[in-house]
């Protein structure tokens, strides 16, 4: 995992947050689809991003849910702009 991803969102602890590993994995897939990093797997569509699920974590650090949701909204628009609707 590169440092850029781990600094992306506010960390949560002792309150619900999205699983860092699951969010990072999806964002890597999105950024690869957008051509922002090498792509080794299948592309991801905006529809798949909209329906993506994440485990909630409370005792371990997680990502601030609202920040992730807002970022994924922006990614969906970028994916659609590039024809990955």
């Amino acid at each position: 995992m590169d440092a850029g991803l781990t600094r992306r969102f506010t960390r949560t602890k002792y309150r619900p947050g999205y699983s860092i590993a699951e969010v990072d994995a999806l964002i890597e897939q999105i950024e690869a689809t957008l051509g922002l990093r090498p792509r080794y797997g299948p592309p991801v569509t905006a529809a798949e991003v909209a329906a993506a699920k994440f485990r909630l974590v409370r005792l371990k650090p997680g990502y601030e849910m609202r920040e992730v949701d807002e970022a994924l909204d922006r990614y969906q628009e970028q994916l659609q702009d590039q024809g990955w609707g």
Binding site: A50, K53, R55
Partner: protein
Amino acid sequence: MGQDSVLVRPTIRTAAPADYDVVAPLVDAWWGRPILGSLPRLFLDLFYRTSLVIDGSSGPTAVLVGILSPSDPETAYIHFVGVAPSHRRQGYARLLYEEFFGLARTAGRTCVRAITAPVNVTSANFHRAMGFAVTGPLPGYNGPGHDMLVFERSL
């Protein structure tokens, strides 16, 4: 909860008219913008049997308000869906939709529809993920100045 959660399938129940007084104060915060005007009491007073609720430890965390058209025997309609921010991305909306699809099929419906404002990009993409065809924005669909995206899916 004493430990970090796994994605557990929640229980879905049929709505009741009394749910309105609990849900109405919540929906603006759930949507992040004023939406209560689209959910007057009549929907849960008159269509509660085709509406669905997921309860959390302190009340509803997700609601779907659906209708089986009394005029068109082929068509069901999803009027409103809301999920509490604390329960986003847990698959609740998908579960509510799938439950409603089953309910509508059992009632002999072959088509389900919904609409949303064009600004609601995530909703449009979610409906695509759920197998809906997306049409529009259709100018003036809900009257002058009220363009809408229209979703339709076979059941």
